[in-house]
């Protein structure tokens, strides 16, 4: 029982309970606002009946040719609303938009290699580890680049795992 709607500026003042969490990064304002302005379809908030922000997803679509893809920049749910598949709902929404509206080939995301709960969740949602990015997080922790192929990628080429890990310099996008 959730209203999923576009994220708006005022939500930034109300998402404290979601963001006060050690695995959730709080970015600067222009970062959020850029996403809101450029990829409004990829930035959604889930709101409870009591009008609390339960969680949100933010992402974008980018790339060329067969690497045209949706990207999940952040997905986070307040602890009170966890364990009821809200993240899954939000992820499905972003996948649907990438697939149907933008005809992207895949959706990808980065996750800390140590964040096992998240990795397990993404795996359940059909994501596979495409490659490891060495010292992606502040030059310390490795990141995993996880992907899920969409309907455009009929042969599922985009998710064939890379054999060797890469360094952040080799990333195509930021």
């Amino acid at each position: 029982m959730t209203t999923i709607r576009r994220f708006c500026c005022d939500d930034l003042l109300r998402f404290t309970s979601v963001n006060l969490d050690h695995l959730t990064e709080t970015f600067n304002m222009s970062f959020y606002m850029t996403y809101m302005a450029r990829w409004p379809d990829y930035f959604h908030a889930a709101v409870s009946p009591g009008d609390r922000v339960m969680g949100y997803i933010m992402g974008k679509v980018e790339g060329q040719g067969e690497s045209w893809h949706g990207h999940v920049t952040a997905v986070s749910v307040a602890s009170e609303f966890r364990r009821q598949k809200l993240a899954k709902k939000l992820m499905n929404l972003l996948e649907e938009i990438s697939d149907k509206m933008d005809k992207a080939y895949f959706v990808d995301l980065f996750v800390r290699a140590s964040n096992m709960p998240a990795i397990r969740m993404y795996e359940k949602l059909g994501y596979v580890v495409y490659r490891r990015v060495l010292r992606y997080y502040s030059g310390e922790e490795d990141g995993l680049d996880m992907r899920k192929a969409l309907s455009q990628d009929v042969e599922k080429k985009s998710i064939i795992p890379l054999k060797r890990p890469i360094t952040p310099d080799e990333l195509e996008y930021d």
């Binding site: 209203t3 109300r14 364990r83």
Partner: protein
């Protein structure tokens, strides 16, 4: 951000990137070093200069930043520049904006646009400059220019018909290809109430641009409802619910349309902080339908919702079940106030979803509608519905929900001390008993049942306020620490926007702590964070705080204080900001939902009120609700206003004293302007405490002579002391005496300050218990008294002395009798002596408070070893026992974490923190005493 790193202003990306990385991770020193190195290679690159400016600004060097950027701007304007890209300009723009020089940024873009007339990127930059400056006409002109250049659509906010016409023209020639463009077009029509036209657009070819069918339907439903076509609208919303049964907003719209309520449209979202719905907002919505019709419509809604319920078997779709409760609520409103179906719907909801941690908050607004009998019934039914003795995540969830419901309803508030204690104990027990459920969880996840510890510690806090027994408070801390021992955690970062919405939890306390340096770092970061929040109350308040803090830190050096004041143009800007007009537009952005229920605001604490056994939870709830809905921000505004006057008052006091004394020597009277400015400021200052200047004067006279009790003015006592200090300063150079003199023996303004400071501080020292054992002690007030009024007074003294000091050797020849300043010097000498005595008494009190760590530890632990059945100590016992017991079911990780637990360790940390505070305060006193000592020496040499 990849595009940002092309060939930037002719500089290869790999050179620039490390600089941006350093900036992004706030390693400004490193960034500056890299940038300087790059600048050596490209000394005339405007881009690298702009980067340097950006770094300098972030480092808090606005002047240097400005000059570097002006240099960059000059280079851009010179003809031999090869690269003229948006990156350089946008970097410059960032710096200029942060320096509050939007005009410079705009002129750069204007220049660029004339030089390269058809560059869309530059035009967009220029457009944005005009947006930032609120130049609507220029925005429009630029937008039209852009439109002509590329033929793309653009927005013209206020000129809806023009926008509509432009879009129509565009559609006729090029049609629309972007969903956003369609949304914009529909919104332009909607804002002009052209609902029919908007609906037509949506159902035409263009409608297919909407990527998601539900989005299109929602929009259609909203337009239809606004058109008052309720039947069609409710059908549309019904369709949405069939595909998204969990969409709560659509359900409310569906019901609203059925009942022809107009519409509770979520049009513009609530701009300020929203508070939980206490007063039922929907009550205000009157339907024009007859009772029978409402009944039959509700019946049809119910059967629809029941179908939706039947379609879903998972536990994830709660919407239709909550909808059931809402429908029954509407029935109650429609003339069936005692209908049993409402509570039945609630009970059903809990049966099905009671194990989820959001179950209680889901139905919060409905719970408040129950009578006390119904509440009892509900709680009974829920607790009978599960077997509390079995161990499962689901059962644990149910247990937590029953506690949460009671907490939400304020039931704990009416319980006796003994009951509360056993409830808290039960919560902690349950947490430990259920820990084996978390054995396979990742240490980064929250453990099952953590909420129990939060609730238990809330209850312990409540017990503390009721009994004032420190033991409960120590246990509250222990319970929370225990939870953190089990779970792996890192310190949470409050940054960026969270500074605005979440720092109200800690900032006020930090500002009155003696740890001045840590606080300053936080505040500086806060000040830098300002985009878009220009009217924030927090922001204004912190702007003053940051200046006041730096003044406090440098209070021992007149020169440094002068330079701080000079940098903030002598406090003038803040005074302007605090004008009534500006104050009216302030926004309050704190996320108050995050506060515990017993402090709806920073200044309110329901728990500190005396416990009245007769009061029921319902009457408490009513009180809390009323308080929330009529919450008054007035005191906060007053305080902010007062703070923004302070730097200017300090400056005028310094400056006025200094020049007045010189002027008298020269026998001039050029001080009228300063005096004229001081007066209205003092009036405003007095008004912010709630008095006229005359009344305020008689208050400080009364307090300093002992005729008025300090306690009566306690909440604002620090402001009163500062007021006296400023009055004294003003009196020094005002032509007429500021203080009404009854006779010759009336005290001088110096004496008023002296005795007020002495009395106020003595009062704190007498009043203070052992601070270790009295939480919420008077240390913060004491710190404020010493670092604010006393500091300001010392500034006045120093300025006076500096201006009276003989200039050159010539003057020394004149005998003491010829100098007119002797009485004044004597007054100052007395004042200095008084400050010394007062601060020494603070110091001896502080030394008295400090005791060996082991001794302090024993004192605190003794609170937990009460022999009585009733007092605190039981919970810490449980924690200690549980952590010592080797329970194999806990799994290796949890068991290992528990081994590190020690109650005494927690208490030791509390003792350490207290001690650190005392040491810091002592240091502050030391440095003030040193200054006073040297003042005394020069005074006695001047007087002899």
């Amino acid at each position: 951000m990849a595009s940002k790193f092309g060939l930037a202003g002719g500089i290869p990306e790999r050179r620039v990137r490390p600089i941006w990385d350093a900036v992004d991770s706030r390693q400004y020193k490193a960034a500056l070093k890299l940038c300087t190195a790059l600048l050596a290679k490209h000394p005339t690159s405007p881009y690298v200069l702009a980067l340097k400016g950006l770094i300098l600004e972030r480092m808090g060097k606005p002047d240097e930043a400005l000059s570097v950027c002006l240099n960059a701007k000059e280079l851009l304007y010179s003809d031999n520049i090869f690269h003229f890209d948006d990156l350089t300009l946008s970097t410059l723009q960032i710096v200029f904006q942060r320096l509050e020089r939007l005009d410079l940024a705009t002129s750069c873009y204007e220049y660029a646009c004339t030089k390269y007339p058809n560059n869309l990127e530059l035009m967009m930059g220029l457009f944005n400059c005009y947006v930032r400056e609120y130049s609507y006409v220029r925005q429009q002109q630029t937008a039209i220019k852009m439109y002509k250049t590329v033929g793309e659509e653009s927005g013209g906010e206020k000129l809806l018909p023009l926008a509509e016409a432009l879009l129509k023209k565009h559609i006729n020639s090029h049609s629309l290809h972007e969903p956003e463009a369609l949304a914009l077009y529909v919104s332009i029509l909607e804002q002009q109430s052209k609902y029919g036209a908007a609906l037509e657009v949506l159902s035409g070819d263009l409608g297919s641009l909407m990527g998601r069918e539900e989005d299109k339907l929602r929009l259609q439903g909203r337009l239809l409802a606004q058109e008052c076509n309720y039947t069609a609208a409710s059908e549309i919303f019904q369709k949405i619910l069939e595909s998204c049964p969990d969409d709560w907003e659509s359900f409310l719209h569906y019901l609203g349309c059925l009942l022809e309520h107009g519409m509770n449209l979520p049009k513009s979202r609530i701009s300020e902080t929203t508070l939980p719905l206490c007063v039922d907002a929907a009550l205000a919505l009157k339907t024009s339908l007859s009772e029978e019709l409402v009944e039959s419509r509700l019946a049809s809604a119910l059967s629809f919702v029941q179908t939706l319920q039947g379609n879903d078997t998972s536990d994830c779709v709660r919407g239709p079940h909550l909808a059931n409760i809402e429908i029954e609520r509407q029935r109650r409103l429609n003339g069936n106030p005692t209908d049993r179906k409402f509570i039945e719907a609630l009970v059903n909801y809990f049966h099905r979803f009671g194990h989820l941690s959001c179950a209680a908050s889901d139905v919060e607004r409905y719970l408040h509608m129950l009578s006390s009998d119904e509440i009892t019934e509900l709680l009974d039914t829920i607790s009978r519905s599960f077997d509390a003795s079995s161990l499962s995540v689901k059962v644990l969830g149910f247990t937590i929900t029953t506690y949460k419901v009671q907490e939400l309803l304020g039931i704990f508030f009416s319980k006796s001390t003994t009951e509360l204690q056993s409830i808290a104990k039960g919560m902690v027990d349950t947490f430990y008993k259920n820990l084996p459920l978390s054995r396979d969880l990742d240490p980064q996840e929250s453990m099952h049942g953590e909420e129990l510890l939060c609730m238990a510690s809330s209850i312990l806090v409540q017990l503390f306020w009721r009994t004032r027994n420190l033991g409960y408070l120590i246990e509250a801390i222990m319970v929370l620490e225990f939870g953190l021992t089990v779970r792996k955690y890192v310190t949470l970062e409050v940054k960026n926007i969270l500074l605005e919405s979440a720092s109200h939890h800690i900032l006020p306390q930090m500002l009155s702590s003696p740890l001045l340096q840590q606080t300053a770092d936080l505040v500086i970061e806060f000040v830098q964070f300002k985009e878009r929040l220009q009217h924030s109350m927090q922001y204004l308040s912190v702007r003053s705080d940051s200046i006041i803090l730096s003044l406090k830190q440098k209070a021992e050096s007149l020169e440094e204080m002068e330079s701080i004041l000079e940098n903030v143009n002598y406090g003038v800007r803040l005074v302007e900001l605090s004008k009534e007009d500006n104050m009216k537009h302030l926004t309050f952005n704190e996320d108050r939902q995050a506060r515990p229920w017993w402090t709806p605001t920073a200044s309110v604490n329901f728990l500190s009120e005396p416990f009245d056994e007769a009061s029921t939870s319902a009457c408490f709830r009513a009180k809390a609700c009323e308080h929330k809905s009529t919450e008054n921000n007035d005191p906060k505004i007053k305080e902010t206003q007062r703070k923004s006057l302070l730097p200017r008052l300090v400056y005028l006091s310094m400056h006025g004293c200094a020049s007045s004394l010189r002027e008298t020597e020269l026998n001039g009277s050029g001080l009228d302007t300063d005096a004229a400015e001081m007066k209205p400021l003092l009036e405003k200052y007095a008004r912010s405490i709630g008095y006229s200047v005359d009344d305020a004067l008689s208050v400080i006279l009364g307090m300093s002579s002992g005729k008025k009790s300090i306690k009566d003015f306690a909440p604002d006592i620090v402001s009163w002391m500062s007021f006296a200090v400023f009055i004294n300063a003003w009196n020094l150079w005002s032509n007429e005496s500021v203080i009404p003199k009854a006779d010759q023996s009336s005290p001088s303004s110096w004496q008023i300050v002296d005795s007020l400071v002495k009395i106020c501080i003595e009062e704190q020292l007498i009043d203070a218990n052992r601070i270790l054992t009295s939480p919420g002690n008077n240390i913060p007030v004491l710190v404020q008294m010493i670092t604010e009024p006393i500091s300001w007074h010392l500034v006045v003294i120093q300025s006076c002395m500096r201006s009276m000091a003989p200039q050159g050797k010539k003057k020394k020849k004149g005998g003491p009798s010829e100098r007119p300043n002797i009485p004044r010097l004597q007054a100052i000498q007395r004042s200095v002596q008084c400050m010394i005595d007062t601060l020494r008494s603070v110091q001896s009190w502080l030394s008295d408070q400090m005791r060996p760590e082991e001794q302090a530890l024993d004192i605190l632990l003794s609170y937990l070893q009460g022999a009585s059945e009733d007092g605190p100590g039981h919970i810490s016992c449980i924690l200690e026992e549980n952590s010592a017991r080797h329970n194999p079911e806990l799994g290796e990780r949890v068991a290992q974490s528990l081994e590190t637990w020690s109650s005494a360790g927690v208490v030791r940390r509390i003792v350490g923190a207290e001690r650190e505070l005392l040491v810091e305060l002592k240091k502050i006193c030391d440095s003030k005493l040193k200054l006073l000592g040297s003042l005394l020496v020069s005074l006695s040499s001047a007087l002899h």
